[in-house]
Symmetry: C2
Subunit: 200 residues, 2 copies
């Protein structure tokens, strides 16, 4: 379930009336603020002002700043989580390099770091991230389902778990400020994942 779907479920469950127009206006305003001023200028107050919405309206849909940030991040995200290059090596290489580059350029990395940081003290944001990640593992698992059909990947490999291992590496690089990986180093990372540590 994506953060957006989670937010929809939440809305439905509390019986609030959805209003797609102003929901979109709020997300657009939030995105503009981020693009123009970065994370430092991002607050529920600033978003309310720009979207001509009341703060209670925003809080009804996005209970915390982190949850709103995650939805904005999710909208912006254009990284292909399941590239189809024909081999498992290059699929994983493209996925990881796309992710690390997206986080390096623009505000994507700063926003996601901030959402992860805030989720450590905000259980609702923690749940939203977990739902978002489960959704991404499911989508990205397509890489492994295709590679199994080609006979390239072992039957016992669990597509979602494999995706979790791959994206964990990317998270740690983001959170320790080490996104500047060379193609050679990234190829070596992929080789560890694809061939395993053990001698064949």
């Amino acid at each position: 379930m994506t953060a957006k779907k989670a937010a929809e479920t939440r809305r439905t469950s509390i019986g609030a009336q959805r209003n797609p127009d102003s929901q979109d206006a709020i997300l657009r305003a939030a995105e503009e603020i981020l693009v123009e001023g970065g994370l430092g200028s991002f607050s529920i107050e600033a978003v309310a002002r720009r979207a001509h919405a009341g703060k209670p309206t925003i809080y009804r849909w996005w209970p915390t700043r982190a949850i709103l940030l995650l939805d904005v991040y999710h909208r912006q995200k254009y990284v292909d989580i399941a590239p189809d290059t024909g081999t498992i090596e290059t699929d994983i290489f493209q996925l990881l390099s796309g992710l690390l580059e997206f986080w390096s350029a623009g505000h994507g990395g700063a926003v996601f770091r901030s959402v992860i940081a805030e989720a450590q003290t905000d259980p609702a944001a923690g749940k939203a991230i977990a739902a978002y990640m489960a959704d991404r593992y499911q989508q990205g698992g397509e890489i492994f389902r295709r590679a199994k059909a080609r006979g390239e990947v072992a039957d016992w490999v669990a597509p979602e778990l494999a995706m979790e291992i791959i994206t964990s590496f990317a998270w740690k690089r983001l959170l320790t400020d080490r996104l500047d990986i060379t193609p050679e180093e990234l190829r070596l990372v992929v080789r560890h994942l694809v061939e395993g540590f053990k001698v064949q």
Copy 2:
């Protein structure tokens, strides 16, 4: 370089006189506060009070709360980062299960989550974590150096990078609140790492 060593270097470079007794008293006081009251009760002020130290003294050695927390965490840590069980599978299994259990029990997990979260907005804490992790990769890389000597691990495997991949998975489980892994699931994680995704 560990956070502690980083702190020592910092002290030397600013020419401050080290005083191991009161440094230890401060770390002991910080640890007691954490054990007794958890993260919520942890502040530089509370540590100063309990250690009978001045706040400026603490700030001279540990410029931010996150850096002090990382040093306390480092002192408490009793997880064996390089278990020597005789096979690479069980070494990695023990390392990961030890880490996830340490984070689940007591305050270790909450403290480390908090340090990682604060490091996202505190560059000095980010540097301290990066130094701490580099030190851990170096120590834990021993698993791979031993396994290579046994002919169990391929020559091209990079011990520090392999340790980074392994601990990244543990970090993500911590940060997404999913430490409750079953032994079966953990064995499957280890199999992915050791055998690789690709059919042999």
